[in-house]
C-alpha cells in the first residue's frame, strides 16, 4: 500500500496478502463480532491519546463542515471591502485578492474535503469488498478474471486517471468522488480476498456448509462479518488519500466551480505568494490537520480492531 501509514503494509502491495499475512482477527475472534465486541474494542483501541485527539479533531471538523454557514462569518465567495487584508481582528485568516474572507473559505471548504474523503473511501471499500469476496469465495475463472482486473487498476497511475476523467467528464463533486472511489479499491479487494480464502477453511464455515447452507448465506452471514473489520481499517486509509487527491486536482484547476474547496484556495494563492502568504498557509494547514486526524484515527481503528491488543487488555 503506497503511502501507507501502517508499518505492516509499508512494504507494499507485492507482499503476498495470503491468509497468514492478512489481519489475524479471522483466526482469533471469528464468530464473535457483535455490536458489543465492536464497542469494547473501540474503547480499548482509542486509549491511545493521539488516536483519541485525532478522533476529537475529526468530530470537530465534521461539526464545522455541517454548520459551515452558521460558523463562518462570511459566505465563502462573499467579497468584502478589503482585499489582501493580512490576518487581523476582523479577518482572522486575512482576505484574498477579491476581498473574500479566508477563514470563511476554510470553514466552507471542509465540506468538500470531508465529503469527498469519506464518500470516495466508502465507494472504494464497497467495491473492494464486493470484488474481493466474489474472487475469494467463488475462485476459479471468476477469481482469475477479477484479480487480473485488480492488477490492472493497481498499476494505473491513480492521480493521472482521476485528472483525465475529471477534466473530460466534468469536475462536479460527485464525479470526483466516483472517480477517486473507483480507483482506490484494489487494496481492499486483495485484503478481503485473502481473508476470505483463510476463513473458507475454518471449521465454522465448513460446519455451515455441512448442514447444507446456501453459498450466498454462508458468504453473507458467516464469512463477510468476520472479514469486515480489516476492510474498514484499509478503507480508513483511503479517506486521507482521497482528500489529498481531491486537493491536488482542485489545485490544478480541476474542481467543482460552485463549491469552496481548500485545493482551489491554494490554486488561487499560487499567484499571490509574494503578497499574501496567508492565502496559502491556512487552507493548506486545514488539509494537513484533516488528513493527519483521519490517518491517526485510522491507526486507532487499526489498534481497536487488532485482537492482539484486545487480549492484552
Amino acid at each position: 500500500m503506497p503511502w501507507s501509514t501502517r508499518e505492516s503494509d509499508a512494504d507494499g502491495p507485492r507482499v503476498p496478502q495470503g491468509p497468514s499475512s492478512g489481519s489475524p482477527q479471522g483466526r482469533l475472534q471469528a464468530a464473535q463480532t457483535g455490536p458489543l465486541q465492536w464497542a469494547r474494542s473501540w474503547s480499548l483501541g482509542f486509549r491511545n491519546p493521539s488516536a483519541r485527539t485525532a478522533a476529537l479533531v475529526l468530530l470537530l471538523l465534521i461539526v464545522v463542515a455541517g454548520f459551515a454557514h452558521r460558523i463562518a462569518p462570511w459566505g465563502p465567495f462573499q467579497m468584502t471591502a478589503d482585499s489582501f487584508a493580512p490576518p487581523g481582528r476582523i479577518h482572522l485568516f486575512g482576505t484574498d485578492d477579491l476581498g473574500r474572507d479566508v477563514l470563511s473559505g476554510v470553514v466552507h471548504g471542509a465540506r468538500v474535503s470531508l465529503l469527498v474523503g469519506f464518500l470516495a473511501a466508502a465507494t472504494s471499500t464497497t467495491v473492494g469488498i464486493c470484488v474481493g469476496s466474489l474472487a475469494g469465495f467463488y475462485g476459479g475463472w471468476l477469481d482469475a478474471f477479477l484479480m487480473r482486473t485488480t492488477d490492472f487498476f493497481q498499476v494505473l497511475p491513480r492521480f493521472f486517471v482521476a485528472l483525465l476523467v475529471a477534466a473530460m467528464l466534468g469536475a462536479e463533486m460527485w464525479n470526483v468522488i466516483l472517480v477517486i472511489g473507483f480507483l482506490g479499491w484494489p487494496q481492499v479487494a486483495r485484503l478481503i480476498r485473502g481473508e476470505i480464502l483463510s476463513l473458507n477453511q475454518r471449521e465454522f464455515v465448513q460446519a455451515s456448509r455441512a448442514v447444507g447452507g446456501v453459498n450466498a448465506r454462508i458468504l453473507l452471514r458467516h464469512i463477510l462479518p468476520n472479514a469486515l473489520p480489516s476492510a474498514v481499517v484499509a478503507g480508513s486509509l483511503d479517506v486521507g488519500q482521497a482528500i489529498l487527491l481531491e486537493a491536488g486536482l482542485s489545485f490544478l484547476g480541476i474542481g467543482d466551480p460552485n463549491l469552496a474547496s481548500w485545493g482551489k484556495m491554494l490554486n488561487n494563492a499560487q499567484r499571490f505568494l509574494r503578497t499574501a502568504w496567508w492565502m496559502s498557509l491556512f487552507p493548506g494547514l486545514a488539509i494537513f490537520v484533516t488528513v493527519l486526524a483521519v490517518n491517526l484515527a485510522g491507526d486507532g481503528l487499526n489498534d481497536a480492531l487488532d485482537p492482539r491488543l484486545r487480549r492484552r487488555a
Binding site: P2, A10, D11, F160, L164, A167, M168, L252, V291, N295
Partner: protein
C-alpha cells in the same frame, strides 16, 4: 529471470487498457469530438459531415476503436490542438525536466530516508527514533504542493536562499560548470520538497526492516565474533534490509510523478506538470490523454527496472 520476461507481457494489457480508457472517455465526454475541432464557430453542416468522414467518426464504434488502437500502438497519440503539434513530441519535450526532478527527489529521499531509518533503528525509542516516527506520520498527511508554497514563500521570497521560478536563470546565461550549478540551484528546493513523502516512507520502512534484521541470529553471531559495530550494522544488517526498501522505489515512482506534477506547478518547473496545468486550462484533451499513456508506461518501466535490480541484489530471486 524467466518470470521477469513473463512480466513484460503485462505491458500489453496495460497499454490496451489505458488506450481503451482514453477512447471511452472521448466518447463519454459531453459534446461531439467534432465540436473540439470546429469550436463554437457556426460551421456549415456539409463541412462538419466532411470532417466526420475524414476522421472516421461516421464508422461504428468498434471500427473507430480499432483504428485508434492501431495509431496509438504505432506511437501516434494524437494532435495537440492548442500547440498545433503531435502530442508525443509535446510530451517528450517536457519529459526530461520532469524526469530530472523526480529522479533527484527519489535519490534524495532514498538516501536520506535510509540514513534516518538506520539511525532511528539503532536507538529504538530514542529522540531520533521518535522524530522519525513523527516525521513519517506527518509525511503522509500534508499536501506536498502546499509545503512547496510555504518553502517558496519563506526560503525563496523572504530569505532569498533559492531562485523563485524555473529551471535556469533567465537573466544570465552560464556555460560549463556554472550552467549545471545554476540548474542544481534551481533544482534543490523543488526536489527536496518532492522527496519528503518518499523520504517518510523509506525512513519508516528502513527502520522496521532494520529492527527486524538486527534481531536475527546471524547478527548476534557477527557481534560475537568481534566485528566492529559499524561493520555489523552497515555490512550485515543494512544490506539485507535494503532489499525491502528497493522494492518500494519502483512502486512509488507513480506517486512521485504525480507529486512532481503539482510541485512543478508551484515552482514553475518546465515539465509535464506545467504542460498538464496549461492543457487543462486550454481544454487540450489529446495532451492530457497522451500524458496519461506516457506516464502509465513509465511507471510500468520503473517497476520493471526495480524488479531487475531486485533480482541482481537478492540471489534467491535470480533462479
Amino acid at each position: 529471470m524467466r518470470s521477469l520476461a513473463l512480466r513484460w507481457l503485462q505491458l500489453i494489457p496495460l497499454l490496451l487498457g489505458v488506450i481503451v480508457i482514453n477512447f471511452v472517455l472521448v466518447h463519454a465526454a459531453p459534446g461531439d469530438p467534432i465540436s473540439f475541432l470546429v469550436g463554437d464557430f457556426p460551421a456549415p453542416e456539409e463541412y462538419v459531415q466532411q470532417l466526420r468522414v475524414k476522421f472516421g467518426l461516421d464508422q461504428p464504434l468498434a471500427v473507430q476503436l480499432g483504428r485508434y488502437l492501431h495509431h496509438a500502438l504505432r506511437g501516434d497519440l494524437g494532435f495537440s490542438f492548442a500547440q498545433r503539434r503531435p502530442v508525443l513530441t509535446v510530451v517528450f519535450e517536457r519529459a526530461t525536466a520532469t524526469l530530472i526532478l523526480s529522479l533527484s527527489a527519489l535519490c534524495f529521499g532514498t538516501i536520506l530516508g535510509v540514513a534516518l531509518g538506520v539511525v532511528a533503528s539503532l536507538r529504538r525509542g530514542g529522540l531520533l527514533d521518535t522524530i522519525t516516527i513523527m516525521l513519517a506520520t506527518a509525511g503522509f498527511s500534508f499536501p506536498l504542493f502546499w509545503v512547496g508554497q510555504l518553502a517558496l514563500i519563506f526560503l525563496s521570497l523572504k530569505l532569498g536562499l533559492f531562485p523563485i521560478e524555473g529551471m535556469q536563470s533567465v537573466r544570465e546565461s552560464y556555460s560549463g560548470a556554472a550552467y549545471y550549478l545554476d540548474i542544481l540551484h534551481h533544482l534543490a528546493l523543488p526536489a527536496f520538497v518532492l522527496s519528503l513523502q518518499f523520504l517518510a516512507i523509506t525512513a519508516r520502512l528502513t527502520r522496521t526492516s532494520m529492527l527486524h534484521t538486527l534481531a536475527q541470529e546471524y547478527i548476534t553471531a557477527a557481534r560475537a565474533k568481534g566485528l566492529p559495530e559499524a561493520a555489523v550494522v552497515l555490512k550485515h544488517a543494512l544490506r539485507n534490509s535494503l532489499i525491502s526498501v528497493l522494492t518500494i522505489v519502483g512502486q512509488n515512482f507513480g506517486y512521485v510523478l504525480a507529486g512532481s506534477v503539482l510541485i512543478e506547478t508551484v515552482f514553475g518547473w518546465p515539465g509535464i506538470g506545467r504542460l498538464l496545468f496549461d492543457s487543462v486550462r486550454m481544454r487540450d484533451y489529446p495532451v492530457l490523454m497522451g500524458v496519461f499513456v506516457v506516464v502509465s508506461v513509465t511507471v510500468f518501466l520503473a517497476n520493471m527496472v526495480t524488479d531487475l535490480c531486485y533480482a541482481l541484489v537478492d540471489p534467491r530471486i535470480r533462479r
